[in-house]
Amino acid sequence: MIHPVLPMILVGLLFGIGLYGVLARRNAILVLIGVELMLAAAGLLFVTVGALTSDTLRAGQVMTIFVITIAAAEISVALGVILAVFRARGNIDLTEAGESE
């Protein structure tokens, strides 16, 4: 038996912290860390709702596994892009992104 309030508060907090990380960081890799936290919050919400309702398809846990897989694909491509930007510009500062010198 568990009170649903606790997981829901954790989902909200993790998503808010991730959003803060995306908005408050200039380094592209640190922005990605914020995105990872938001994805983790989404996975926790899936698992929580799956555990609190009776679902014969186990969609909550299966969806979380899919989200984790997609996060792995996303981070590999994103880090490839970041490394390409680093080779082209010499830094990965997002405040200078898109500006020509």
Binding site: F15, R26, G43
Partner: protein
Amino acid sequence: MTTYDVLFTIAGTISVAAALLAVSTKHLVHSALWLIVSLASLSGCYLVLGAEFVALVQLLVYVGAIVVLVLFALMLTRAPIGRSAEHDTSRVQRAAALVVGAATAALLASVLISAFGNDKKRVNGGGTHLLAARLFGSWVWPFEVLSALLLVALVAALALARLPIGPRGDADGVPR
């Protein structure tokens, strides 16, 4: 407070504290290491919710693979060691980000709490055997498409790594 509540509160508190440190620390590498702590204790939350397979996948894929990739990228982009204020945006933008983040957290939590109420509910984890039967039964086609997605991501990352680019003015965009 039930046992589940206590265990979930412990793991969740560690997770939130580590996540806060990950988005606020001035050390680049520490940020990735705090992300490990946050995601590992989140897998503890999954264990409390009865999703032991998801908890192990979280540990293996997130902590074992994704954070190691992030650390590699930090090294390859010559991350400065030690404190540096270069990683954060200006003070005004950080204050605005704090407001937006706090407002989003409050909105999400209040909407979800009002949707699910606060009655004690039984944790219906299921078990790995049932999960495996569903994953390779009803969900087998999305699962196969995901393996194709992983292959595409692999090829895309390889193609990006082989792009003929160098510093500006080096070759004026001419492939080497």
